[in-house]
Amino acid sequence: MAVKTIVFPRCTSCNRPITPDMKAVHFTCPNCAKVTIWRCRICRELARLYTCPACGFEGP
């Protein structure tokens, strides 16, 4: 039987994989609109900073 792998997106702040049941949010970088930024529920609740890997924009 072939082994199937699922690649989950990772949170931009804490790098944890985001499973579909989490209340995570994704949006394109507000500054450069090139990269999709993912934020997990915990990072949103704690207002942790995220940094865009393409342009270096620091949010929120």
Binding site: K23, A24, V25, F27, T28, P30, N31, A33, R39, R44, E45, L46, A47, C55, G56, F57, G59, P60
Partner: protein, 214 residues
């Protein structure tokens, strides 16, 4: 990294911003907003940097310009924000929620007023908590105007500014409307010159008096 060149705000605009009191914060500061604070006035009021406010407003407008106007929900329950939101949505075509936020607007599909926006803009995360919580359940990004004493949980883009002033909220929405139209490529010189801050300012209703909070 520095923002692009065309973002460098001109001096006149900064003067207008300071005149409108957009750079004024509150007398309390929270850790989330500490990195936006420029200095403290001798009477204890924290101040924002005018350049940073304009930069953030530009970024917010550029982010909103990625979406169709029908996919943007603009919320304000503040007395001075109601007229500003209504005018903002007249100009840009976004979905306004001015005044009371109907419960379940983002979560209950059976309701008549249910909407499914891509991004939510709130004028104060404390007054508009209902919208922030529902956006979190619906997994939509939230842009928020925050003062120095606003806790910024569940917010994805902060606009640091005075969000309780009689003149500062109209200024912010006026500027956002202008930038949004420019970024969308819908702006014409006539349209931009016809937009004035007075149109965004709350007019006192006869027999009813507004109270200045700050």
């Amino acid at each position: 990294m520095e923002a692009k060149d065309y973002l460098s705000p001109d001096v006149e605009l900064q003067e207008l911003l300071v005149k409108s009191g957009v750079h004024l914060g509150a007398k309390i500061k929270v850790a989330h907003m500490e990195r936006f604070i420029y200095r403290m006035r001798p009477d204890g009021v924290y101040l924002f940097e005018a350049k940073k406010i304009l930069e953030r407003l530009n970024i917010a407008a550029r982010f909103m310009a990625l979406f169709e106007p029908q996919k943007i929900l603009v919320v304000s329950t503040h007395v001075y924000g109601i007229r500003a939101v209504q005018r903002f949505c007249e100009v840009t075509g976004c979905i306004p929620v001015a005044g009371k936020i109907p419960a379940g607007i983002l979560t209950n599909r059976t309701l008549k007023y249910y909407v499914e926006p891509e991004v939510v803009l709130v004028s104060d995360p404390r007054y508009d908590l209902q919208a922030v919580v529902e956006a979190s359940i619906a997994r939509k990004p939230v842009i928020a105007m925050c003062s120095t004493d606003n806790v910024c949980d569940d917010i994805d883009l902060i606009i640091p500014m005075n969000n309780r002033g009689r003149t500062s909220l109209p200024f912010a929405f006026w500027y956002l409307a202008r930038r949004y139209l420019i970024e969308r490529g819908e702006a014409t010189p006539e349209l931009l010159s016809s937009l004035t801050i007075e149109q965004f300012t709350a007019q006192p209703v006869p027999g009813e008096e507004y109270q200045q909070i700050i």
